[in-house]
């Protein structure tokens, strides 16, 4: 019997008992659903973290010149941490020195920030990110304004008390009011609102709109950083290659400025989105590593269910086996028939599981902030695993069927 005959026969048998067949493949269905959904979510998260999270947090092709790492993964040993804290902080002078030395065309923005309250009249928006920076920051962060304008280089030079606010500030303080031209108080000092940034959405449920941006020279700058000190200098290149070049130049410039000898370690840190992603990568690796365990449990259960169903099928269809043997079916024909039937059943379960897995991934994407993207390899894996489970589960029952004595089998009721 040719294999496609066996597959056709399997489909005919499965179709004849739809409900029973469905229940027997539920285990595999669930296992593959799980596989597809989790892989989709992890893949989606990966992409999301790379595209949006990292770029949203730092900026596209952007790196930061810092005193010490901001994003760390895992526990940092006490002595390492203390070493970081002893490093000199990044100063205005460092920033200007780097700007003079770097040849690669890049955009710079000095940056300082802290959490503060922003007040308007009797209302206060607590825990807003107050950012002290330069006009280039708007370009680096790709902030588009829905009203007003960003502050200018002149306003920075003059240390004007102006502020560009995020949506969350406007929604909290200025409901139904045009924010442009209004005065808010930050740390007791008045600032005039000159711009409103378009909504930035949220990341894992956390709003990205809770900020207020002022010139780093503005009157309240002491609230966020000591005079002459920066949290970091943001440096954005046009593309990843230029970013790497620029990083080399910045490192060289800083080593010169800090008078480091060739053997000395850097006493500053260049942070890219890669370091922000490191922690996530660890989590996703754990998920992907443990996934096979979770999936294999349901697949083993699914396989056992299918094996039982096939054993039942062999018992129920003893007479059919007898007829087939009388008409010339060899052992291997019967073996093939039941193995293929089991594999087909299981593969059907896997296909359904792929369907429900994709649906589940999209549902998760729709109702939670978690993103999801279907990984083609997980679909291939799902089908392969489905067929494999079916073959393994089918071998024992099929072997029993193939060994039946035709005389006894023909007599069965």
């Amino acid at each position: 019997m040719r294999w496609f005959e066996a597959v056709r026969l399997a489909f005919r048998t499965i179709r004849a008992q739809k409900l029973k067949s469905f229940f027997s493949l539920v285990g595999v269905l669930i296992g593959v659903t799980f596989l597809i959904a989790v892989v989709s979510i992890v893949t989606g998260m990966n992409r999301y973290m790379e595209d949006r999270f990292a770029n949203g947090l730092i900026g596209l092709n952007t790196f930061l010149l810092r005193q010490r790492p901001n994003f760390t993964s895992g526990n940092v040993p006490e002595d390492v941490w203390r070493g970081w804290m002893r490093r000199p902080r990044i100063t205005y002078g460092d920033a200007d020195f780097v700007r003079e030395r770097v040849r690669t065309p890049v955009t710079y923005a000095k940056f300082c920030s802290d959490r503060v309250g922003v007040s308007y009249g009797s209302k206060t928006a607590k825990d807003m990110d107050l950012v002290g920076t330069e006009p280039s920051y708007f370009k680096i962060k790709d902030y588009k304004l829905v009203a007003g304008r960003p502050f200018t280089v002149q306003e920075v030079r003059a240390g004007m008390p102006v502020v560009v606010i995020g949506q969350a500030v406007a929604e909290k303080l200025l409901v139904g009011v045009d924010p442009i031209g209004k005065d808010v108080r930050i740390g007791g000092l008045p600032y005039r609102i000159i711009g409103l940034v378009e909504p930035q959405g949220s990341l894992f449920g956390l709003s990205l709109d809770k900020f207020a941006i002022i010139p780093y020279t503005a009157p309240g700058r002491r609230m966020i950083c000591p005079i002459n000190v920066l949290d970091h200098l943001m440096i954005q290149a046009d593309n990843p290659a230029l970013m790497v070049t620029a990083m080399g130049e910045v490192e060289a410039a800083m080593r010169t400025r800090r008078h480091l000898k060739p053997g000395d370690e850097n006493n500053f840190h260049l942070e890219t989105s890669a370091s922000a992603l490191e922690g996530w990568k660890k989590v996703s690796k754990i998920l992907i590593t443990f996934l096979p365990m979770l999936v294999s449990i349901s697949l083993i259960v699914g396989g056992i269910v299918i094996m039982n169903i096939m054993l039942m099928a062999v018992a129920e269809r003893t007479r059919e086996i007898g007829i087939r043997k009388a008409l010339g079916a060899r052992r291997r024909d019967i073996l093939a028939q039941f193995v293929v039937e089991s594999a087909t059943l299981s593969a059907l379960g896997a296909l359904m599981g792929i369907g429900t897995g994709i649906v589940l991934a999209f549902v998760v994407r729709a109702v939670t902030p978690l993103p999801a993207a279907i990984a083609p390899w997980s679909i291939v894996l799902g089908v392969t695993v489905g067929v494999l489970v079916g073959v393994v589960a089918g071998v024992y029952p099929a072997n029993r069927a193939s060994k039946l004595d035709p005389i006894v089998a023909l007599r069965a009721e």
């Binding site: 007829i323 009388a326 008409l327 060899r330 291997r332 023909l410």
Partner: protein, 233 residues
């Protein structure tokens, strides 16, 4: 005389049942020529079922020789026996033994599936076999949509589709009323007239009377072997 289609010598078949040994066949010798129409009779326990199983290559003898169409088949492996059943033997059973969920056409196709005949050729040959037994218009019916007589005709078509050396029928009318039985016997006669070798196991004398030769078994041995006129007389 030409080589017989079946040549059996000193056929013995023992069964071990628990501590007892049942001697179902105790040395049967028999020749059946091409295009013979033979009825094998005997009371229950005479060994006729065992005889039927051995003739049908479903069982192998404990000792003795069985030559079928020039081939010694008594010592073959299971798979080799399956080949012989597929090529040389067409079975007709008392209980029809059709696959309940398959159409008449598909049932008739089965031996061809295992013979490795595929596609259109297979369907054509199966359809042709159904036409021979007068069921061309019932091809796509399932067994439960057919009468007993029609079911047995499907079984006959299935038995014939591989052009076997022998048509082996086990109580072919056991589940049929007398009118239908006559019909089926008519089909057998026609096939025999066209040159088919027919061997029929039955315990009904009036059914056996349709055969040209009757072999009566008793206690695992051939008791009577003569032409029907003699039996009838």
């Amino acid at each position: 005389m030409s080589e017989p289609i079946i040549r059996i010598r000193d056929l013995v078949r023992h069964y071990v049942m628990g501590s007892e040994t049942v001697q179902a066949l105790r040395g049967v010798s028999l020749d059946i020529q091409r295009n013979e129409y033979v009825a094998i009779m005997g009371p229950s326990g005479s060994g006729k079922s065992t005889m039927m199983n051995v003739l049908g290559c479903l069982d192998t003898p404990t000792s003795g020789e069985y030559w079928l169409n020039g081939q010694e088949v008594s010592r073959l492996t299971d798979d080799a026996l399956a080949r012989v059943r597929n090529k040389e033997i067409g079975f007709v059973f008392q209980t029809f033994n059709l696959l309940p969920r398959a159409s008449a056409l598909h049932n008739v196709e089965l031996p061809l599936v295992y013979a490795g005949v595929g596609g259109k050729d297979r369907r054509d040959r199966a359809a042709q076999a159904l036409q021979i037994v007068g069921l061309a218009d019932r091809m796509h019916h399932r067994p439960n949509e057919l009468s007993g007589g029609q079911r047995q005709r499907v079984a006959i078509a299935r038995a014939l589709v591989n052009s076997p050396s022998i048509l082996l029928a086990d109580e072919p009318t056991g589940n049929l009323d007398s009118t239908t039985s006559e019909e089926i016997m008519g089909v057998f006669r026609e096939l025999h007239d066209k040159g088919q070798t027919v061997i029929m196991v039955t315990h009904e004398p009036d059914i056996a009377a349709h055969a040209a030769r009757v072999v009566v078994l008793r206690d695992g041995r051939v008791e009577i072997d003569r032409l029907t006129r003699d039996v009838a007389a």
